[in-house]
């Protein structure tokens, strides 16, 4: 480690978050390397959303700290982008697709200033990247679930951040949309951005992500997908949920039997 090395995109120390005095996430220690597409997986109620919300300062923390590029988030919130769960907003809200994507620019504008021509241009490019440009002037309630998810992705792109938190960006989208979203995420990764993505589908988690964070209220494991995605680790994360596990175990076994184990 030389002194010149830039600080990690995300560093978490001893983070504990509680709802109504019951801890949801505790004792999380994590240092996330740059330029990776990272999946956060774990059972329901494991605190996946809570963890990323706490990282962004959306929830009060009980203890510990979070640093983004070596500084508290408040020092420069523009370096962080966010894709919330689709259900977190009212899709009947009287705004157009363009208006929502422009919201991604607000953090850079500061108080009172309105988005200008340049911001509109950026928003248009972002909409184009998720193939929604023809929908720019639509009211957001006239969109399918997959389109809504892509609007949020475009908005996150418009934030032009270096570290992204995404809460289940694949929830309720069809296969084609999922593939399109994965491509965008991989592009971002290839540009050197760091992405933390809450995900709940185990089979795809293995192929989508460079690294995995296995979470069940605290960190069960964090590391490169091939070393973390093991039956033993998943068992530790998911406990007794045998149906999912046996499925995964059998795919794993089939692959290991079929091909020589990659090492």
């Amino acid at each position: 480690m030389n002194a010149k090395q830039s600080p990690a995109p995300l560093e978490i120390h001893d983070l504990t978050v509680a709802y109504h005095k019951k801890p949801v996430v505790w004792g999380v220690d994590l240092e996330v390397p740059a330029g990776q597409l990272i999946g956060i997986i774990g059972p329901n109620g494991a605190g996946k959303s809570t963890l990323i919300k706490a990282c962004m300062g959306l929830l009060p923390t009980h203890s510990g700290w979070v640093k983004v590029f070596g500084k508290p988030l408040k020092a420069d919130p523009t370096r962080v982008g966010y894709v919330p769960q689709r259900e977190s907003v009212d899709w009947d809200f009287p705004v157009s697709v363009m208006d929502v994507v422009l919201m991604g620019r607000y953090g850079r504008l500061g108080l009172i200033r309105r988005p200008g021509k340049e911001d509109r241009e950026i928003a248009r490019e972002c909409l184009d990247r998720v193939k929604l440009l023809p929908y720019a002037n639509r009211q957001i309630s006239n969109l399918s679930g997959g389109q809504q998810q892509r609007v949020f992705l475009a908005r996150a792109l418009a934030q032009q951040a270096d570290l992204y938190f995404m809460d289940e960006p694949f929830a309720g989208v069809d296969a084609a949309t999922e593939a399109a979203i994965v491509t965008v995420l991989e592009d971002l990764r290839d540009q050197g951005k760091t992405l933390l993505v809450v995900h709940h589908d185990l089979p795809t988690a293995r192929s989508y992500f460079d690294s995995l964070l296995l979470l069940n209220m605290n960190v069960v494991a964090f590391g490169p997908t091939e070393s973390v995605f093991t039956a033993e680790m998943l068992q530790k994360t998911y406990g007794g949920r045998l149906t999912i596990l046996s499925e995964v175990a059998s795919t794993l076994a089939a692959e290991e039997g079929g091909n020589p184990v990659r090492r």
Binding site: P77, V80, V89, Y106, P115, G146
Partner: protein
Amino acid sequence: MVDPWTVDLSLYGWIALMGFLVATACGLVGNYLILRRMALMGDAVSHSVLPGLVIAFLFSSSRGTGAMFLGALAAGIAATVLIEAIHRKTRVKQDAAMGIAFSTLFAIGVLLVSLYSEHVDLDADCVLYGEIAFVPLEPMVTWLGVTLGPVSLVRMAAVLLVVVGLIFAFYKELLVASFDEALARATGINPTWLHYGLMSVLSVVIVSAFESVGAILVIAMLILPGATASLMTDRLGVMHAIAVGHAAVSAWLGVSLGVWLDCSIGAAMVVAGAAIFTLVWAGAVLRRWQRRMGHDVEPVPATSVPR
């Protein structure tokens, strides 16, 4: 129906203008209440200002505008803080917290009025129902030799200017905090401060409006223009414009109706506003029905883009 406009324009003109100013200020603020799903916050704040008014009156022993304004503003903010505190610190949900806070504050207000009734020259009826017909009888405000209008009308116009100015200045902040509070917070816009700001503006609007239309009717003016607008458009900017139009029409119709029936003009304005809402609603239903009858096959235009 035509009487008020031909017989005495200056008299009814002031009343209609006052009604327009009140309904516009209420309507613009009300749009945000509707979007933020806290429409009844207007109800809560308008009840909660009563103890503030009484306390301000007892301290200043005058019905001077300044003291009343500050008292009501303080009470409005206290109600907001109380609702947030109950909702955050306990498991009580926001609507229930609202119910607790405003009924308690209102009760304290009534209690104070009855305790100090010999010192308090506050007419509860006036606070509750108001009387917009008295606006032209007020002393006129002159500025640089120009007669601007009755006191409460000039004050309402100033409040409306402030409301419009604030909405213009903080348009994007209000938009993102209302649509996606988490994004607002994550991008460094503090939705909590915006909420308190909005509630302070709401308190000011309510206090300056209820002398003319009454506390109870202010609630209607907060909701009706925005509710009507939301039936007609799906853009926030247009929604504001329609709310202003609704305010103008209901003020004019209200004065006509009030004079024609010789009844409370404030109440007539609300009835007119509600009638416009009903008409727009009926229009929307009719249009949907026509569209269904007209072309059964493809109501939504097909797009060239794959879903």
